[in-house]
C-alpha cells in the first residue's frame, strides 16, 4: 500500500474526568487511555467499541469541545502540526467536521437552511448549500423545514450536509446510523465513503463492527478505553489474520461466524484490572499480562497484547 499523507495522528490520547468522591476528595476518572489512531487522506478508519465506552469523547477531544471538567492528555497531530486549542477553534466546522448521531443535535427552533448556513445569509453561502442539497437529492423546500419535520431518510442527508458547508479534510462521524436498518445504513455509509474517495480522512466511530467492515479501510478496536488493535479491514475476513484476543472474540460474535459470545463484561474504568484490561476474560492470560502492555507491530497491524503473534 502506498503511503498517503497522514491527516490526523492521535498518539497516546487520554481523557479523564474530575469527580468529587464522598465529600470533597477530587479524583480523576480516566475514561480513555493509550488511544492511538492514525487517519490518512482518502482513508476511512473505523473506531469500533461497545456502547458507553467513551468513544464519543474521542470525537469531542479532537474538536476541542470536551466538557469543562474533562482533561485531555497525549498528542494530536493534525496535518503535521500539533493540534492546539487555537487551531481546533479555527479548524472545527471548516476543515474538521463532525457528523452527529441524530437530528437531536440540531436546534429544534431553527429552520434547516439557516441552521446549516450558521445564520449566514450571503449569496455565496446560499448557493453553496443549494449545491450540496442538490448533490444529496434534497429538495430546496427542505431548507424551510424545522428539524422535527424531517423524515428519517432526509435527516441523515441533512446531517451530512452540515459537514459539507466547510471544506472538510477530516470528517468525524459519531455513531451516524443508530437504529437504522441495513439498507439505510449502506446508503449513509456510502455518503462517507464518497467523502473519503474525494480525499478527506474519515473517522467513523461506531459500535457496529459489521457496518464498519462494509466501508472502512482500517478498523481500530476499542476496549475499556484503550485501543487494543489497529488492523486492516481485510484482516477481519478470518479469525487467524486478527491479532488481539478481543478482536477475535468480536469476530466470532458476528452472525455469520457463529454468534458466539464470551463471558463477562467490559470493566468499568474505576475497577480496571492491573495490566491488560482484557486479562480477566482472556483465554491466553498469563503472568506477563499483569505488567504494562505496550503497543507493537504484528503482521502489518498494531496490537496491544504481549502474546499476539
Amino acid at each position: 500500500m502506498e503511503e498517503k499523507k497522514v491527516i490526523l495522528d492521535i498518539r497516546n490520547f487520554s481523557v479523564s474526568f474530575e469527580q468529587y468522591e464522598k465529600g470533597f476528595r477530587k479524583t480523576g476518572l480516566p475514561v480513555i487511555r493509550n488511544l492511538d489512531v492514525t487517519i490518512r487522506e482518502g482513508e476511512m478508519v473505523a473506531v469500533v467499541g461497545s456502547s458507553g465506552s467513551g468513544k464519543s469523547l474521542l470525537a469531542h477531544g479532537i474538536l476541542g469541545i470536551l466538557p469543562y471538567n474533562a482533561t485531555m492528555g497525549g498528542e494530536l497531530v493534525y496535518d503535521g502540526e500539533l493540534l492546539t486549542k487555537e487551531r481546533q477553534k479555527a479548524l472545527r466546522g471548516n476543515e474538521i467536521v463532525l457528523v452527529p448521531q441524530s437530528v437531536a443535535f440540531l436546534d429544534p427552533l431553527m429552520k434547516i437552511g439557516p441552521q446549516i448556513r450558521k445564520g449566514k445569509k450571503d449569496q455565496a453561502s446560499r448557493e453553496k448549500l443549494n449545491g450540496i442539497f442538490e448533490g444529496y437529492h434534497l429538495k430546496n423546500e427542505v431548507q424551510e423545514l424545522y428539524p422535527f419535520e424531517l423524515s428519517g431518510g432526509m435527516n441523515r442527508r441533512v446531517l451530512v450536509s452540515t459537514a459539507m458547508m466547510g471544506n472538510p479534510r477530516l470528517v468525524i462521524a459519531d455513531e451516524p446510523t443508530p437504529g437504522l436498518h441495513m439498507a439505510m445504513v449502506r446508503r449513509v455509509m456510502s455518503h462517507f465513503r464518497e467523502l473519503a474517495d474525494q480525499g478527506a480522512g474519515v473517522l467513523l466511530i461506531t459500535h457496529d463492527l459489521e457496518q464498519a467492515l462494509e466501508v472502512a479501510d482500517r478498523v481500530v478496536v476499542f476496549y475499556a478505553g484503550t485501543t487494543v488493535e489497529d488492523a486492516d479491514a481485510k484482516d477481519f475476513r478470518s479469525e487467524e489474520t486478527l491479532r488481539h484476543p478481543y478482536s477475535k472474540a468480536l469476530w466470532r460474535a458476528l452472525p455469520q461466524n457463529g454468534f458466539q459470545f464470551i463471558r463477562g463484561t467490559q470493566p468499568y474504568v474505576k475497577d480496571l484490572p492491573e495490566g491488560c484490561p482484557f486479562g480477566p476474560r482472556c483465554e491466553w492470560y498469563t503472568e506477563a499480562c499483569k505488567g504494562e502492555i505496550s503497543c507493537r507491530e504484528v503482521r502489518g497491524g498494531r496490537v496491544r497484547c504481549v502474546r499476539a503473534v
Binding site: 472545527r92 443535535f105 436546534d107 429544534p108 427552533l109 450558521k118 445564520g119 424545522y146 422535527f148 431518510g153
Partner: protein, 345 residues
C-alpha cells in the same frame, strides 16, 4: 418518532373549527375560574370571625346606639341575610354586569376598582416590564457561563432577594430613600395637602418610584433564577454542543440558538409572573400606603366590604387568567412544533 415516509405527513387541519373549539374551551374555563374564585373568596369572608359592625362602627359607638339603629346597620352590612342568598344575589347582579356598591366607599364597585386599578396598573406595568427585561438579561448572563464568578454573583443576589419578604425590602428602601436621604416621598400616590388638580405627573412618578422598584427587585430575582436554569439546560444541550463543533462562536451560538430557545419559556414565565406581581403589589402598596388595588383589597377584606372584595378578586383572577392565556396563544404562534401541527418531535 422518526417517520419513514419521504415527506412529513402534514395532517389536513380545519383551522376555523380548531379556533372555535379553542375559544370555547377557554371561555368555559374562564367562567368556571371566576365562579370558583369568587365562591372561595366569599366563603372565606363569611367564615371569618370579623364582625363587620364591630370592625367598621366600633364597640363604643355600637353601645350608644338604639336597637333600631343597630338593626339598620345590620341590614346595611348584610349580617342578617343567610350567606347562600347573599352570594346568589351578588352572583346574579354580577352576571348582569352590576358589581354592586362598595359598603366602605359608598360608590359603585366598578368605579372604585377603576380608580384603584389606574393607580396600581402603571406601578405593576413598570415592575412587570423592568423585572422581565432585567431578569431575562441577568439570567442569560449567569447561565451562559455556569459556575463563573459572574454566575455566582448573580445567582447569590437572586437567591438572597428571592428569599427576602417584599414588605421588608420595602421598609429598607423607605428607610434609606425617604427617611435618611429624604429624596423620595414616604408614601401615598400624591403629595399631601395639594388639590387634585394641582397634582403633576412628576409628583405621581416620584411617588411611584419606590413601590415600583420594590416590586421590580423581587420580580427580577424570580425571573433571573428561572431564566438561568433554562440557560444552563440549553448550554448543555446536544444542539449547542454541535453548534460549537461546527465552529460557531459563543456570540453566534447565543444569537442563533440560545435566544430563540430561551425566549419561549421566558415568555410563558413573563405572563405567568403577572400573578406574582399582583400578589406582591398587595404587600408593597400596604407598606407604602399607596392607594392601589392591593391596598383596596386589604381594606375591603378587613372591613368586610364583600362586594368590593369579590370585585377585586374577580378582576385579579381575570388578569392572571388573561396572562396565562396570552402566554398559551403566543406559544402556539411562536413555537413551530405547535404551529406547524406536528404531534411533537
Amino acid at each position: 418518532m422518526v417517520s419513514w415516509l419521504p415527506w412529513p405527513v402534514i395532517r389536513e387541519r380545519n383551522f376555523v373549527k380548531e379556533h372555535f373549539i379553542f375559544v370555547g374551551k377557554q371561555a368555559v374555563r374562564m367562567v368556571l375560574l371566576v365562579f370558583f374564585v369568587s365562591l372561595a373568596a366569599f366563603v372565606l369572608v363569611s367564615v371569618s370571625p370579623l364582625d363587620p359592625l364591630q370592625a367598621n362602627v366600633g364597640q363604643a359607638a355600637l353601645g350608644s346606639m338604639s336597637q333600631e339603629q343597630i338593626a339598620k346597620l345590620q341590614t346595611y352590612w348584610g349580617v342578617d341575610e343567610p350567606p347562600v342568598e347573599r352570594f346568589l344575589a351578588w352572583a346574579g347582579d354580577f352576571f348582569r354586569g352590576d358589581m354592586g356598591l362598595s359598603l366602605l366607599y359608598r360608590q359603585p364597585v366598578a368605579k372604585v376598582i377603576g380608580v384603584k386599578l389606574a393607580n396600581s396598573l402603571w406601578l405593576m406595568a413598570i415592575a412587570w416590564i423592568l423585572s422581565g427585561a432585567v431578569g431575562f438579561v441577568l439570567g442569560i448572563l449567569a447561565g451562559l457561563r455556569e459556575g463563573s464568578l459572574l454566575d455566582k454573583v448573580i445567582k447569590g443576589y437572586s437567591l438572597l432577594i428571592a428569599s427576602t419578604p417584599a414588605f421588608w425590602l420595602a421598609l429598607v428602601l423607605l428607610m434609606i430613600f425617604a427617611v435618611w436621604l429624604k429624596v423620595l416621598p414616604i408614601g401615598l400616590s400624591v403629595p399631601i395637602g395639594v388639590e387634585a388638580a394641582g397634582v403633576t405627573v412628576a409628583d405621581r412618578i416620584q411617588h411611584a418610584i419606590l413601590p415600583a422598584i420594590t416590586l421590580s427587585i423581587t420580580g427580577i430575582a424570580n425571573i433571573t433564577l428561572h431564566t438561568r436554569e433554562k440557560m444552563v439546560e440549553i448550554m448543555e444541550s446536544d444542539y449547542v454542543l454541535f453548534a460549537r463543533a461546527r465552529g460557531e462562536s459563543t456570540f453566534s451560538i447565543v444569537k442563533n440558538h440560545v435566544l430563540r430557545n430561551v425566549l419561549l419559556p421566558a415568555l410563558t414565565l413573563q405572563f405567568a409572573a403577572i400573578s406574582e406581581i399582583f400578589g406582591g403589589s398587595v404587600l408593597v402598596e400596604q407598606t407604602f400606603s399607596y392607594p392601589g388595588l392591593g391596598q383596596a383589597a386589604v381594606t375591603a377584606g378587613l372591613g368586610s366590604d364583600v362586594p368590593l372584595l369579590l370585585g377585586i378578586t374577580v378582576i385579579s383572577a381575570l388578569f392572571v387568567f388573561g396572562g396565562n392565556l396570552i402566554a398559551n396563544i403566543l406559544y402556539g404562534v411562536i413555537d413551530p412544533r405547535i404551529r406547524r401541527g406536528g404531534a411533537g418531535a
